[in-house]
């Protein structure tokens, strides 16, 4: 889970090297190194952390942020930004609590409704950004305010109702297993989401998405419907936020503060993963690793018994240092062109 293996696709060494460099090269190497260092640090502090139940607990806690980071990755790699996910997570949990109100039978329909709402929010974000040409920072900032306000306007300021047991299962429950004691649903969901995300990014849509983030005009001239592709990225982000809301609501239940600040955590995670703000570069695996790194960092702080108050400072320092380090790697002069020698003449 934590150390993704390079995929052996058996089409030659260059292929493996290519995948490896895609995974570990560029800005992404930093995040994997950092992740390993942090895990080593946690393990040194507390060897029991590596025991399956502890790891499972870690995954359960980290799952929502990883899911959010994957959603944010789609948007960032397309050259945009989604600040509304934190508010959306909060709103979705509140919607769930208010509408389910403890009734088990309502779980399914409400989940469906949340999905619809998530898609809707993503559509609005995407269409305002692509059709009305509003910078996504502003669009999603506005959406963040709207969701924050509307959610509290609806509930009078604090969430009401209660989540059903079924709703809480994905984030809290799991399958009884011998070694790990409880294999959390969230781990299974996470694995599914990561696989799906990797597949999506290897599919035509994923390639087109990155191309749009890299060079919008070239993509458009290649027959890409840029507005659709970008809007879909926003929809994916919102759907991921909805899933994160299900996981987080399941994990910890309803509190008034749920979701606050998650947008910045998700963006931080993605950027820490070497994905460049502005689009066109970075892998979804690295974004996921970024999210795990952020969560592992909190765990490390806890293991170090770092005073609660100083943790943000340490977090800020490490993020800046890691991104600076990755930027240093990237800003090295470009390798020279290959064909300084004349090409073979053919005629």
């Amino acid at each position: 889970m934590t150390a993704p293996r390079p995929a052996h696709r058996s089409s030659g060494a260059s292929r493996v090297a290519g995948v490896a460099s895609a995974l570990f090269g560029g800005g992404s190497a930093t995040v994997f190194a950092l992740l390993i260092v942090i895990f080593a640090g946690i393990f040194a502090m507390n060897p029991s952390f590596m025991e399956p139940p502890s790891l499972m607990a870690f995954i359960k806690n980290a799952a929502p942020l990883v899911v959010l980071a994957i959603g944010q990755y789609f948007v960032i790699v397309a050259g945009e930004l989604d600040l509304s996910v934190g508010s959306l997570v909060g709103t979705q949990v509140v919607i769930a609590a208010a509408l389910i109100d403890g009734e088990e039978s309502r779980t399914g329909p409400v989940l469906l409704l949340m999905l619809v709402f998530g898609v809707l929010v993503g559509l609005v974000n995407g269409l305002i950004t692509t059709v009305l040409k509003v910078h996504s920072l502003i669009t999603t900032l506005g959406m963040m305010l709207v969701l924050y306000g509307a959610n509290r306007l609806w509930t009078g300021g604090a969430p009401t109702g209660a989540l059903s047991e079924a709703f809480r299962q994905p984030g809290r429950g799991g399958v009884e297993m011998p070694v790990v004691r409880l294999l959390p649903w969230s781990l299974l969901i996470l694995v599914a989401v990561v696989i799906a995300a990797v597949v999506v990014m290897r599919r035509p849509y994923g390639r087109v998405l990155i191309a749009v983030g890299d060079n919008e005009q070239a993509a458009a001239f290649s027959g890409v419907r840029v507005w659709q592709v970008r809007t879909a990225a926003f929809v994916l982000s919102s759907v991921m936020a909805t899933l994160a809301a299900v996981l987080i609501g399941g994990y910890a239940g309803v509190t008034a503060q749920v979701g606050e600040g998650l947008e910045f955590a998700a963006i931080t995670a993605v950027v820490l993963g070497g994905v460049v703000l502005g689009g066109g570069r970075g892998t979804v695996i690295a974004a996921m690793a970024g999210a795990l790194t952020v969560e592992a960092l909190f765990t490390l702080f806890n293991q170090l018994s770092l005073p609660s108050t100083i943790r943000p400072a340490a977090q800020g320092l490490i993020i800046i240092a890691a991104v600076a380090y990755a930027a240093r790697e990237r800003s090295q002069p470009a390798p020279p062109v290959d064909d300084a020698r004349p090409e073979p003449a053919r005629s």
Binding site: G18, A211, D214, G223, P333, P336, D339, S347
Partner: protein, 512 residues
């Protein structure tokens, strides 16, 4: 036309001493040598061409002179004093200015603000906009450019206007040396002429000009001496007066020019009309009637802005035709987006590779698949299997399919673009300036490719501003003027005939 004879220029240069002396310049990036031991001299009042294939090291040498890069070894002497520019600012302060290929202008700022960018005149510590405008107006007047206003936002200028602003900016530093990187690459012919006159004036003032160009004609028209680089090393520096064009080409590529435009492949014959435009028009174009046949290379010629690129864009749904009809293979189609155009069987190799053709941070493979991924996602994987074969048949030089295209040379980037479009198996392919800014070897491959495609029955519409290319390749030449078709000429026509139509002069009339 040889507006400035090499003799006259050479005579002027002979009295000058060496203004600049670069000796043994070497430079490596990541351990790969891009320049080794290059020498270059510039005399006051000379126009000195710097030529070589893409990747020969021209740009790097220029950037070392400009202070953008620093040489790993070697010396630069200016007026006999050793200098080492670590920043473009130092070069400019030493009165060495550079006009780069990518415009270094701020579109949202005015001409004057751009000219004096970085050293705005101040009065009592405050920027004096009035003086800045007056000084700019003076500089423009000195060059006879009174039609340019200092307060005009650069965004509102044509390419030539922007180029001129660049040169004025260089002059405002009272430059002794101005290097120009492909200054005519983006200019229409009449604008080129304007540039020539400007260069003549600069030469009179004793300014040394280092002129990087791919266009041989300009080198012989304009330059006194030429320095040839190949593979990062100096080949020779010679007077243009004593040099023949084919000799120069041989120095650059080690290959005679004779085989440059390949012959038609056997069995190539014009077939059915694949693409027909009737009465096409929009806010840029009017009355466009056009037929492109299978197996035929049809060429759109005309001055810059005559509507060549606009037709390509209109055909591809980028800027649509608002009038008239377009038929592909006999069926009337409405092309409202590139996507529809691709689905109809069209392909467009755009003129600006970096801005419109490639996602530079993506791999060769990803770029080559892009159209398939975008337009036919379900069958993209299957159809993309052709791509490796296409790329190797195009002689692509790259580390592998995973190499990012920004690391490739212009020629190889163009091959990736071509592969991207060939992968769609188009029935009509529009090539907009397919050889712009690429080296001679790659150019040749593009020409042979066109012949191969024609032999396969693809209809080819080529847009080109290089007349030799038009004459050498086209089966039919359609000449545009002011957004309308000025006339059609058969293949093998003369450049004079094309120019006559393009400029509206009576054929056979005085050409210069």
């Amino acid at each position: 036309m040889t507006a400035s004879t090499p003799e006259a220029a050479g005579g002027g240069a002979a009295v000058s001493t060496h203004l600049l002396r670069m000796r043994g310049i070497s430079k490596s990036f990541l351990g790969v040598r891009v320049l080794h031991g290059v020498d270059l001299d510039l005399r006051a009042g000379e126009v000195h061409a710097l030529v070589g294939e893409n990747g020969a090291g021209k740009s790097t040498l220029m950037k070392i002179l400009a202070g953008v890069h620093q040489a790993d070894s070697g010396t630069v002497e200016l007026d006999g004093a050793a200098v080492a520019f670590e920043h473009p600012l130092q070069a400019q302060q030493a009165r060495v200015s550079t006009v780069f290929q990518e415009f270094n202008l701020l579109p949202d700022r005015t001409v004057a603000e751009n000219v004096f960018l970085g050293r705005e005149p101040r009065t009592r510590g405050m920027v004096d906009a009035r003086r800045m405008n007056a000084d700019t107006a003076q500089l423009l007047a000195d060059l006879g450019l009174t039609w340019l206003t200092p307060q005009a936002p650069v965004r509102s200028l044509s390419v030539a206007g922007q180029q001129i602003v660049e040169i004025v900016k260089a002059l405002s530093y009272d430059a002794r040396i101005i290097s120009m990187d492909e200054p005519t690459a983006a200019l229409a012919d009449e604008e080129v002429d304007l540039l020539y006159r400007l260069i003549a004036r600069l030469r009179e003032r004793g300014v040394a000009i280092l002129y990087v160009s791919h266009r041989l004609k300009e080198i012989f028209d304009l330059c006194d001496r030429v320095t040839v680089l190949k593979d990062g090393a100096l080949v020779d520096t010679v007077d243009t007066a004593t040099l023949r064009p084919d000799e120069l080409v041989r120095m650059m590529v080690g290959r005679p020019i004779s085989s440059f435009f390949p012959d038609k492949l056997p069995g190539t014959a014009p077939g059915d009309v694949r693409l027909r435009v009737t009465g096409g028009g929009n806010d840029q174009l009017d009355g466009i009637d056009l037929e492109v046949r299978a197996g035929e290379i049809t060429c759109l010629a005309g001055l810059q802005g005559s509507g060549r690129t606009e037709i390509a864009h209109a055909l591809f749904g980028i800027a649509r035709f608002t009038r008239g009809t377009v038929q592909v293979d006999g069926r009337t189609v409405r092309l409202r987006s590139p996507r529809q155009a691709v689905r109809t069987g069209l392909a467009l190799v755009t003129e600006d590779r970096k801005a419109e053709g490639l996602a530079l941070n993506q791999s060769v493979a990803a770029n080559a698949r892009l159209v398939l991924d975008a337009v036919d996602p379900r069958r993209a994987a299957a159809r993309a299997r052709r791509i490796p074969g296409l790329l190797s048949s195009l002689d692509l030089v790259a580390r592998g399919p995973d190499q990012e295209v920004r690391f490739l040379s212009g020629g190889n980037q163009q091959k990736v673009v071509l592969a991207k479009w060939l992968a769609t198996e188009p029935s009509v392919i529009v090539l907009d300036e397919p050889t712009r800014g690429i080296d001679v070897g790659a150019k040749h491959r593009v020409y042979t490719l066109m012949r191969e495609l024609a032999a396969d029955g693809v209809a080819i519409l080529m847009v080109s501003s290089e007349l030799p290319e038009v004459i050498g390749m086209a089966d039919r030449v359609i000449v545009l003027r002011d957004g309308r078709i000025a006339g059609e000429l058969p293949g093998g026509t003369t450049e004079e005939a094309v120019m006559a139509l393009a400029t509206g002069q009576v054929p056979g009339g005085p050409m210069s």
